[in-house]
């Protein structure tokens, strides 16, 4: 055991008291440095916002990032300051000053360090220790609010917010001189709206597509100031969507192949009709309806439908094994359900019900445990997903065309047009009694504008033979949406056959004139709300398309415009 001298004892106690003061000061310093970190973070946020503002990339999505930078820097700097140690002499001076100890601490610290033992030195050290014990740290070192730092943070953030919400005059000027920037932004917004509309469908299979579209929309928007880059991003997005739609051709071909088989039974007639329309949404709905009907069918009807579905499964086998599998499951499940009904009718025992199905499967389910309803719902979901992918692909193509037109590249995409036309082409062929599946498999290798459309109109060989898909004369047009089902020619495609807008023979094509539709407005007050007239107007693009009153190159724009009104 070591006996400490009085001086050393006082010195140790003094240092202990001072270390307590040091901890209090560390917390206080941490608070101040945290506020300084906030100021630094706000400055960093300001720089980030200025950078984003110059690119016009400030959006609500970036707010969490800014908040993370702001608070992250505050916590980091405040945390680091907690680990910085105080010098004991400095602590003594500070506590002398703040607690008005009249240099008691610093004197005692020096005396202790020198090991002074004379009476007055000991008395002085004792006096210092007693005074330090009586100090109320909160009173001596009150936690002051770092107003200066917080005010600086506030003002910097206000400036950052003002910059963030204000338009960039240079970009506005650039946009005025380059309309393609605006169009690129509009297309980004369209893609975003498209992604949001897919969310409404609520199918989990569409989640990847939705995310892909959202990501693509953000990329396009971020690059909108460089329309060429935005176009590249759009093309990449389109290509990715196309890759996701790789199996849709097989689905369409399989559906086309089974239409005639389904038409043989009144229960499946609706599904056959839907397939004949070529509208995948209709097909999805009809499949869902059929799935609901399966549980209400009588035994004989079930057997009959099972037979039709089995037949359809056989037909779809070549085009799409998955469709064939779903149909086969549905057929098996319906057959099994009928068997269960029969067994139940025979003796009503539960044991028989369980064994009534074919080959050990559960009653009303296929060998893999799926019911007919589940199998048909799966088919319905696949069709719905394909429909959404088709719609997305169509709209992306439309957006790309619009952007290309704004960049003056209207003739540059013919080679790729065939790639995207395959699905619409298949629908055209399925429209002629499902005999176009062979053509639908063609992958647009033709590239000669116009021929594909004619092929679509003529249809290919009967569906049984169409699976080879080797004709190689896919569409020469890009698709434009559902209207392609009827015409076989995309209204969203580049204008390959320029048409003169009917003008009553008032002007020659090379003559410009004042826009006749921009005359002075009358003063008639509105007599009806827009919601009452909207439905009739919304039909106009369809009617215009059908009648050919809308020029080919403008059809898609008109349709999109009314679609956007519908969404509002």
């Amino acid at each position: 055991m070591t006996l400490l001298s009085p001086s050393a004892t006082f010195h140790a106690e003094l240092r202990e008291q001072l270390s307590g003061v040091g901890r209090a000061l560390s917390y206080q310093r941490g608070l101040v440095w945290m506020a300084r970190g906030l100021a630094v973070g706000s400055f960093a946020v300001l720089l980030m916002i200025v950078w984003a503002w110059s690119k016009e990339a400030v959006s609500l999505q970036t707010v969490p990032t800014f908040a993370a930078v702001l608070f992250g820097s505050a916590i980091a700097i405040g945390g680091i300051s907690l680990f910085l140690r105080h010098d004991t002499r400095d602590l003594a001076r500070r506590v002398d000053h703040s607690a008005r100890l009249n240099e008691r601490s610093i004197t005692a610290l020096e005396l202790g360090a020198r090991g002074e033992e004379f009476p007055l030195a000991l008395a002085q050290m004792r006096d210092a220790v007693e005074h330090l014990r009586r100090i109320d740290l909160l009173e001596t070192f009150p936690m002051r609010l770092p107003k200066r730092e917080l005010l600086a943070t506030f003002f910097i953030l206000v400036v950052a917010a003002l910059i963030g919400i204000s338009p960039n005059p240079w970009l506005l000027r650039a946009r005025a001189s380059n309309p393609a920037i605006n169009i690129a932004r509009e297309q980004a917004q369209r893609v975003e709206r498209l992604a949001n509309s897919i969310r409404a469908e609520g199918s989990p299979e569409l989640d990847p597509l939705r995310e892909l579209l959202r990501k693509g929309a953000r990329t396009i928007d971020a690059r909108s100031n460089e329309p060429g880059d935005a176009l590249n991003a759009l093309e990449d997005l389109e290509e990715q969507v196309q890759q996701m739609s790789a199996g849709d051709d097989q689905l369409a071909a399989a559906l086309a192949a089974i239409a005639s088989a389904l038409a043989a039974d009144p229960t499946t007639q609706n599904l056959a009709n839907a397939i004949n329309t070529g509208d995948l949404r209709e097909i999805s709905r009809a499949a869902k309806d059929l799935a609901q009907q399966t549980e209400q069918l009588s035994g004989q009807d079930r057997q009959r439908v099972a037979k039709v579905l089995r037949d359809s499964s056989n037909r779809a086998g070549r085009a799409s094994p998955s469709v064939a599998g779903e149909l086969a499951d549905a057929a098996a499940a319906m057959g099994a359900g009928e068997g269960a009904d029969n067994a139940d009718g025979a003796d009503g025992s539960e044991q028989n019900v369980r064994q009534g199905g074919s080959a050990g499967q559960q009653p009303g389910t296929a060998s893999n445990g799926r019911s007919a309803r589940e199998a048909l719902n799966e088919l319905s979901n696949n069709a719905a997903a394909a429909a959404e992918r088709q719609r997305a692909s169509s709209q992306l193509e439309s957006s790309r065309n619009a952007l290309e037109r704004s960049l003056g590249r209207t003739q540059s995409r013919s080679g790729q047009a065939g790639r995207s036309s395959s699905s619409s082409n298949s629908r055209s062929q399925s429209g002629s009694n499902g005999q176009g599946s062979g053509q639908s498999a063609a992958q647009g290798q033709g590239g000669e504008m116009g021929e594909g459309g004619e092929q679509g109109g003529n249809g290919g060989s009967p569906g049984e033979d169409g699976g080879s898909g080797d004709s190689g004369e896919g569409g020469g047009f890009s698709t434009g949406g559902e209207n392609q089902n009827r015409t076989g020619v995309s209204g969203l495609d580049t204008i390959t056959r320029p048409e003169q807008v009917p003008n009553g023979g008032l002007f020659t094509p090379d003559e410009s004139t004042q826009n006749p539709y921009l005359g002075e407005a009358g003063d008639g007050a509105a007599q009806a709300g827009d919601e009452s007239v909207q439905p009739s107007f919304s039909r106009k693009p369809t009617q215009g398309n059908d009648s050919g009153a809308i020029p080919l190159g403008l059809r898609d724009l008109v349709k999109d415009y009314f679609s956007s009104l519908d969404q509002k």
Binding site: R93, N102, E103, R104, I106, T107, A108, E110, L111, E116, F118, P119, L120, A121, L122, A123, Q124, R126, D127, A128, E130
Partner: protein
């Protein structure tokens, strides 16, 4: 009336008994002296504190003030409170050194012989009041100041040691300067403090009138003797001073010197000479005593600031420009003290 400090340390006297005076005893004694003197000297607490500080620091004080402010009474009261021998010398132009130091006189012895015997002058007292010291000739002033410094007197071939404690309180009148011999700077430097006695306030004058014109005058009680005072003087020198406080005192003294690079602009412009190292000693010693009187066992920055004027005002010599512009040493020192950083 002086106000006694209230923050006496709570340490018990027995805690530090080592044979000599304890901090507690020192403070009690010093406060008792201050209190007793304050009963008689009305309205001059700063001067009383200054004189007491100077005595406990073992130095001599120069009191400057107009006649009738109680300078002589102050010195006599302190002498009575401390049971010290007291003498007063009124300095005049015809005062000779031997008049204050003493002289050898021829005396008949019992054996019928004649011998020279030293007759001590008024300097042979514990407490000497040199009244209007600037009226004596430089020769006499030098004799006094030499005795102050050496604490002994040489007469003929014999050196006589002055009694301990030996404290000189000199006074000088700032008015009626005709026919006076201002003390040279080197001799002023011998005084630890130079204290200015201010004119009393109206309330103090009222109390002076009430107290001093009655049937009886208050008399101080004896609270210590010369031996105790000597112990206190030695004890005060042991008060520890932190290095930072010492450096602060050094900075102040250095900054009174116009040649110092970091001296204030006023010092460079108006001061001719700054304080000597004796000024630093005065600062620190005065600070030590003041710290004890304030109930502490250490010297604070505040103590240095409190004694700076008294310790330095007679050591800073002003130039002609200061005289022309009415700049006083007190103002310059105040500027130095307020602009000198503690750290």
């Amino acid at each position: 009336m002086t106000v006694l400090p209230a923050n006496v340390p709570s340490s018990s006297p027995s805690a530090h008994t080592t044979g000599g005076p304890t901090p507690y005893r020192f403070i009690e004694t010093a406060r008792a002296i201050e209190s007793e003197v304050g009963r008689v000297i009305i309205g001059q607490p700063e001067v009383v504190r200054g004189v007491l500080t100077c005595l406990l620091a073992g130095g001599h004080a120069l009191l400057e003030g107009i006649p009738g402010l109680g300078k002589t009474l102050l010195v006599r009261t302190i002498g009575e409170a401390l049971d010290l021998s007291f003498s007063r010398v009124q300095f005049t132009p015809d005062l000779m050194p031997a008049d204050i130091t003493g002289t050898s006189i021829l005396r008949d012895t019992a054996e019928g012989m004649r011998t020279l015997e030293f007759q001590p002058g008024p300097l042979f007292a514990n407490l000497v009041l040199a009244d209007e010291v600037n009226r004596a000739t430089p020769k006499t002033q030098s004799a006094l100041l030499e005795a102050m410094q050496e604490r002994r007197v040489t007469a003929g071939r014999t050196t006589h040691t002055l009694p301990e404690p030996f404290l000189v309180l000199a006074t000088q009148n700032p008015i009626q300067m005709e026919g006076t011999y201002p003390l040279p700077e080197a001799q002023l430097d011998r005084f630890l403090f130079k204290l200015t006695v201010p004119y009393p306030s109206e309330e103090d004058l009222l109390r002076i009138a009430q107290v001093t014109t009655g049937a009886s005058m208050p008399h101080p009680s004896q609270v210590a003797d010369g031996t105790a005072l000597l112990e206190l003087m030695h004890f005060a020198r042991e008060v520890p001073v932190a290095d930072t406080v010492l450096r602060y005192a050094v900075r102040i003294v250095r900054r009174t010197n116009p040649e110092t690079p970091d001296a204030p602009a006023e010092i460079k412009r108006f001061a001719r000479y700054g304080s000597s190292p004796r000024g630093l000693q005065s600062l620190v010693l005065g600070g030590k005593v003041r710290g004890l009187l304030e109930g502490r066992y250490n010297v604070a920055f505040e103590d240095i600031r409190a004694v700076a004027l008294a310790a330095l005002r007679h050591r800073v010599i002003l130039g002609f420009e200061a005289d022309a512009e009415g700049i006083t040493t007190d103002k310059l020192i105040h500027d130095v003290v307020t602009t000198t950083p503690e750290e």
